[in-house]
Symmetry: C2
Subunit: 639 residues, 2 copies
Amino acid sequence: MGRKVFLDEEPLDDVRRRWLSRANIPRRTERIPTAEALNRVAAVDLYARVSMPNYNAAAMDGFAVRAERTFFASETNPVRLRVGEEAIVVDTGDPLPEGTDAVIAVERVHILDDGRTIEVLAPVAPWQDVRPIGEDVVVGEMILPAFRRLRPYDLGALLAGGVLEVEVLARPRVAVLPTGDELVPPKEDIGLGEIPEFNGAMLRGLAESWGAVADVFPITPDDPGFLRERVAAALERYDVVVLNAGSSAGRDDYTADILGSFGEIVAHGVATRPGKPVVLAVTPEGRPLLGIPGFPVSAFLAMEWFLKPLLDRYFGEGAPPRPRVRALLGRRLVSAVGRDEFVRVTVGKVEGRYVVQPLSRGAGVTMSLVRADGLLVVPREAEGFEQGTEVEVELFRDPAQIDRTVVLTGSHDFALDLLRSHLRRKDPTCDLSSSHVGSTAGLQAIARREAHGAGIHLLDPEDGTYNVSYVRRHIRGVPVVLVHLAKRVQGFLVAKGNPLGIRSLEDIARPGVRYVNRQRGAGTRILFDHLLRKAGISRESVYGYDREVPTHLAVAVAIREGSADVGLGIYAAAKAFDLDFIPVGEEQYDLLLLRSFVESPLGACFLEILQSEAFREELRRFGGYDLSRSGEVVYAQEG
Amino acid sequence: MGRKVFLDEEPLDDVRRRWLSRANIPRRTERIPTAEALNRVAAVDLYARVSMPNYNAAAMDGFAVRAERTFFASETNPVRLRVGEEAIVVDTGDPLPEGTDAVIAVERVHILDDGRTIEVLAPVAPWQDVRPIGEDVVVGEMILPAFRRLRPYDLGALLAGGVLEVEVLARPRVAVLPTGDELVPPKEDIGLGEIPEFNGAMLRGLAESWGAVADVFPITPDDPGFLRERVAAALERYDVVVLNAGSSAGRDDYTADILGSFGEIVAHGVATRPGKPVVLAVTPEGRPLLGIPGFPVSAFLAMEWFLKPLLDRYFGEGAPPRPRVRALLGRRLVSAVGRDEFVRVTVGKVEGRYVVQPLSRGAGVTMSLVRADGLLVVPREAEGFEQGTEVEVELFRDPAQIDRTVVLTGSHDFALDLLRSHLRRKDPTCDLSSSHVGSTAGLQAIARREAHGAGIHLLDPEDGTYNVSYVRRHIRGVPVVLVHLAKRVQGFLVAKGNPLGIRSLEDIARPGVRYVNRQRGAGTRILFDHLLRKAGISRESVYGYDREVPTHLAVAVAIREGSADVGLGIYAAAKAFDLDFIPVGEEQYDLLLLRSFVESPLGACFLEILQSEAFREELRRFGGYDLSRSGEVVYAQEG
């Protein structure tokens, strides 16, 4: 129980400080050919062994002479020199012949006697037009100090200086041990209860991008004895052992038992979210043993916190820190006091300001790392941040790339992925990031100028129109343009063959029928509520009304996998998963864009794609879209 | 001759624009295992093939139930469920058993009948504590768009989404052909007239750091027929051919002839310094053929200008541009109108301002790239910049590293390399950069607060003291501290055995004796001038008085290699090259430091090393140093 005292309690900085004072990767070196040493780190100071050039060389085509012979030369008193004896023909780069110490360019002499004599009309200073020994590198000079990462021209200078082999820091060896009975090697036909072991590739990639070499061991089942043997074997050949535990409760306890048996536990648990169940141990020699959580986001963070600084210290010069920017928080963020929370965020530049939107906070959501433009830390003493707070964000991407990213929010449609794809095919330095928050939240984001555009499909029940009345009502003081994207068919998605015989709203409210809903504010949810009201059916009678998923795709997947019987969504989603579809009606999906964006070069490029036949052609294949008016301006408002 | 029109005339931007419109590397793709795809660039949009997880899973240890059964549960009306039938024991991560749709944590139920029954005291919502299908990745969703460089967590997400192989952009193949009769493979015993072929390793390193694979061909002699064959052979197997011509005059002409014979010359010469004699050609299909100069700095720049943008375009997303800072120019810089000049500079941060010092401008000085912290462009319409101008510099290093670099200037001494080495051994995130401009220029740099410190050894002929009177006279309004480094012996360096029998100043003025001098302002030169004056000898009578080299080492090398007979320098230089030494006297070498630096953490670290026994011990081995008072403050001045 003594160990448990740490759990949930110790701040990250304290844990990290103790870890770095206890764990260490001892430096090893190796000699390798200089030509193969790109990006390796010098282990010792490197001195030139020869000069480059190692002789005085002519810097011009002409005649090598002894300068002294010309000291009294002038137009009226030309000095004649015998070619081959007092004046030697040299080309640029030729060594200066014995007894000479200057070069006269060929165009500055008179050539007499068929080239047997030259006439010099002005004095030449010693060493004129001579490339001196060591101009490039002087023997004995320090070319590079220890702990420098070797760049292409460093290799050139070393070879020029006769350093044909260099002593570099050996790459530390990291063993990655994935463990868990539920794990199987990644494959396409994953069975029920199986989880593909995909962390290994990520962990290896991280370690290698920090300069180590890493091997991913075969999956170890949850058998402490076997696991202990594996760790022991890994310790024989590796500098660092990373045990990637499964994510079930209690596993970190036996990870701690195992790692502790090789030395001493330095920390068990850290006051962060995600990433809490970390186990850090050292052997009696201080060699690092890391037990990191199974959830991929936790695993990523734990590696950054505890392995990267060890490798940075090993190599001397760490990678430059990630850039940081101040940005406006686009959504309220509530966080538990007592833990530093690491929130993955998208970052967009809208009207000159950076705006961040939190992504999924689940520790298991790898896609939140893939989608993230940056990381926002809510410190453990804070309860979170209000929407509109200025926060500091650590960027995963170059700010210049973020400046060229179209930021869309609002409702989800397949068209958005397709727009991204076409945008990048047109200009790969551009990108498009979309977050699916539903039409209503999208409208609000535009009202606050927090995105370039929002996909919306909001039915006005008064008159059956779409979108315009909402924009009129909710957007104030912000010039916007509403551009039509598509008409699309909405309807109920049910399993192939419609086994429950669902035809109407009444069928959905039947006992035994499981509905899957969209999140609050989504246009599709508003449509469903509207349909329920019209039919006089209460929400409470719909089993699963509170089960919310964020996209049409997720609705289709739930039905396809059998965990729901019906959901409202677009035809394209039904078609993609081979589901049956009961149409409800056609709706209008538009993009509400800031006028400043429409008028920017990025916006122009975006609209060009929207209006292109290639884009429409590809979207049409998804099915259920009427694209006859795509790209048309439906409505514009000055502000 | 038509071709010659371009030479010396066409601005870089124009050449580059035309080159990019004519040359192209067509994209090729390859399929590789996802686990091996770190840092490769996706060639197509990548979509998930399976969901992760692909089943609904328990998110807690507890009991899976059908939520409906608990809707009316309360403290007063507990609902009893039979374990194994209505409530199934699940661990975190287990698939949700058929017929259940929620999980109740084990601590929230009463267990009765030896575990055969549980009692639920509150309703459970459907999907409570269930990790839904696709929480991480949903089948069908776009994981990454084309042209994204794959990061460690991208690999994780792809494998989680069942994408076991990815189609990535193949690495373009670059052939590097070094040419020149004078070239030999790098070796330690370079002969007279031989130049080691060291550009190849640099050019390959550059191409590979931009994403290509490159091969360096064996050295091709200057034989146009053979060279043409080599280029033809390279074109069969490579996407790009880089011909690295020798540096002698006229070579770029035949390079142009050869490359032109495979297609068309796009440019011959560019209005830059260095880098002018570039030859750019394309095959009829637009494949790039580059003829780049032999001088290493020119070669580096030509690769950056003309190969990098092609590779960046190939991969879609180029590397982020180098950071830029505004900085104060520490020395006047004169440049020819009509050419953009690319000057390698050191960059230091002194009292909060960035200060740049130009390095050697020779195209042949690889060390100017190694030493450079950045690149300063003097545009072709400018004649240069005055000292003190604010200039924009492109940084080669991270600004954070520059902030942790001690900037020394002034006189050269071996101690400076050694201080650098000890500093980096103590803390590899620190560095020390020193430029050798002589004591006088060093004094001026400190007066202008352009360096943290300067090594000086300035004799006051009035009273025989060193340094203090100069500081009093020349430093105004800048708080400084003069710290003693060493007493060192100065004397004349002559070849082993002193073959010319040099004993005195008179001997140096003898005909046939060749002197090698230090640059103007160097303390050693001031000492020599003082000795000449005392002996009543004129400078004109010293042969080679105007031959200037910048360091003690360079003086020793000139004598060692036989291009000079005598020079003034420190004992350590004579010892390093096994030369004879005729002592002239002992002098005092001090470091003049800004007080703001002395009081900074970096300065404290620096002084600690200066005062350390380890440093003194190592310097003592060079010979000729009296280190008994190293690190003592000799003098301080408020300003």
